[in-house]
Symmetry: none
Subunit: 217 residues, 4 copies
Amino acid sequence: MNDAAAALRPRKSPVQARSAATIDALHIAAVQVLTREGLDLCTTTRIAARAGMSVGSLYQYYPNRDALLAAVLERHLDDVARTVEQACHGCRGKPIAQMAPALVGAFVAAKLRDPEESKALYAVAEARGGAALTAHTHRRVVAAVAELLASAPDAHFEDPVMTSAIALSALVGPVRTLLEGRAPAGFAECLEEQLVLLLTAYLRSCRSVPERKMERS
Amino acid sequence: MNDAAAALRPRKSPVQARSAATIDALHIAAVQVLTREGLDLCTTTRIAARAGMSVGSLYQYYPNRDALLAAVLERHLDDVARTVEQACHGCRGKPIAQMAPALVGAFVAAKLRDPEESKALYAVAEARGGAALTAHTHRRVVAAVAELLASAPDAHFEDPVMTSAIALSALVGPVRTLLEGRAPAGFAECLEEQLVLLLTAYLRSCRSVPERKMERS
Amino acid sequence: MNDAAAALRPRKSPVQARSAATIDALHIAAVQVLTREGLDLCTTTRIAARAGMSVGSLYQYYPNRDALLAAVLERHLDDVARTVEQACHGCRGKPIAQMAPALVGAFVAAKLRDPEESKALYAVAEARGGAALTAHTHRRVVAAVAELLASAPDAHFEDPVMTSAIALSALVGPVRTLLEGRAPAGFAECLEEQLVLLLTAYLRSCRSVPERKMERS
Amino acid sequence: MNDAAAALRPRKSPVQARSAATIDALHIAAVQVLTREGLDLCTTTRIAARAGMSVGSLYQYYPNRDALLAAVLERHLDDVARTVEQACHGCRGKPIAQMAPALVGAFVAAKLRDPEESKALYAVAEARGGAALTAHTHRRVVAAVAELLASAPDAHFEDPVMTSAIALSALVGPVRTLLEGRAPAGFAECLEEQLVLLLTAYLRSCRSVPERKMERS
DNA sequence: CATGAATGAGTCTTCATTCAT
DNA sequence: GATGAATGAAGACTCATTCAT
């Protein structure tokens, strides 16, 4: 796994402004090709061409195709994670009724900012090795939400990490359904509202755990 | 879409016992290769080899690789759908508190019966054209659950299809998190319990207000 | 070449009526498939299917695909040859002015009886080894026409075989142009008339000078 | 037909000298393989190998095997057409007795310059789609000759295009007979002379049409 | 004898990656 | 550093031919 991870690292850090711009161009191009042509047709040559450079240049920045796609995916996941983390910071210590909308809002906004991109990157995540990339960011978000839950004044969670993991996964499901076109008509319009309902209800029924102590007594 | 669908249809129906066995062997082999090697390495040659036959034979039953994978995916989805539909029939007219565990139980059981297979097939579903295959089964399950919800004596849902779609998607999320290895330790053990909690809570908070009055009284 | 020829011989002679019927069916099927699908798609399976039998049966009568196609081609060429030979017999000893229309008529009729078949078989003749098959029949027709020329009362040909070969080839050219769709509009309608003109003119200008004196006197 | 034609277009134009050399090498290799092995064995791998490059390189210049073969055929046909057109220009306005040898000479020279190549390409022309390629060049040559005929001072042709088409086809026949090895001994030696005889005689008997008017009077 | 499922060598074609210019 | 032509391994797929039933 060490080797595998090493093989996916970018070749050079964007120490120079030019590098950063080039890498940006590559990411944008990759997402465009991914979006318009699909993962199968997302070849290095095509990406380079869309980015206005030659294949050779692409290989100056990434050791192979997978490394580039991994980087693109990572950046996307990182964006989502940061957005959610900021939301968490913003409502630390607030009651569940305020946490839920904030969390859902941040998550949905991040994922639906560019739906095509989000959708295309799911395909990348599914491909060989994608799980590892996703896992890291996922844990990060779970941790942030767990911390948030622990700070709720109107609830006590026995296992905040678990509750966070379930809750987040439950939010991901409907968003993915929407992105992948399995949603019935009108789904998009009431998605956020329903997710708030869902999250609030779930968190409320989880916090009841402290009550169990009372039951035991 | 007609053409695309036609291209994925199997070539011959298993009229003879031998054919049926061959097709079964192909499905099993495909899942094994998918599971152990990943979608990229899941080539027709490898599948045929694992199934103990030559590539030619594979092509006698499926017009191309995608058709085989589609058939494997379809069979799996169909299994899940049928399981859930049966559960729905089994608790029609029962209160939410009984519906939720039955639904979650059926769904989780179907998806985790062969976790490796379930996981591997997500990759297939993600690949070009997979959405269409998933969509059909998804609608079928959504419809079954919607009907079930409408039969609940202790609740009235304004838009059962939407509630069903959200609820099911919310169940899918955590199951997928588990299958794809993003789950924290202990996740598997409390998954079903938490999903029941989640579903119950969500359905309770969705039902129309009038019912609540009756509950309180 | 002996081996090559042997490999193309049919497997059994049609001693039984059933064999003859089967072989007929195969020939007809082969021509149909050739005509409708082209040489590339003219596979043994397709031919057998169109002939209402299994591939296995086809191989009972022909050792391989090429042998079947060769037999079909040979039969066609033999038909043409026989037709022309009969025409030759029919106007032996007649003057050129009568020979030419008879020859052209026979040849054109034979080749255009089933234009699709004629055309399709050109493709077969062009394929590997086809030259050998064509050569034999060609020589036969050339010989028949040469003999006819030698019998002309109003002409003496120094080298009847050569004249025959040139003349026949010259007739083939326009017929082929028509069959292969390179002909301008109206070509078909005046083809025979023009070929008679062409043949008559050529034969007249070939015959030895002394004859001309006789004609003028 | 637009799509079909597009699929056969070369991929890149030989902008660089290297490219032009590569394309030339491919054409030469294709003809050699075609000549020595036949159309069936004329595979992309073999062509590339004979050209001293890898298959990949072949596909950098042609989108598929047929496109390469089509290009080779086209180049050959274009050569022939140009040669004949030049001969036509050279004897415009001259009497038939001078036209015929010039035309025959040019045509025979062009076709027999590299007999193996000419022969091999007939097989290509016969293959699926070849007719279309041939047709265009054929029309071009027919038009050039028709124009030439119209310029003859000692003859008037009612339908020069038709006469041209018949005459040219009649020349093609014997040349093809020679190339494909169906010719009797000595054929090659007297071919040109006989074709001149043939063409002259045919044209003379066609021009007689104006004379008919005189007959009618 | 007929059948048609099975075989697998051999095609075409793509695309990640390299390296001479 | 940039370029993009060249590479060739590897995949999908076909079809002539065989042979067990």
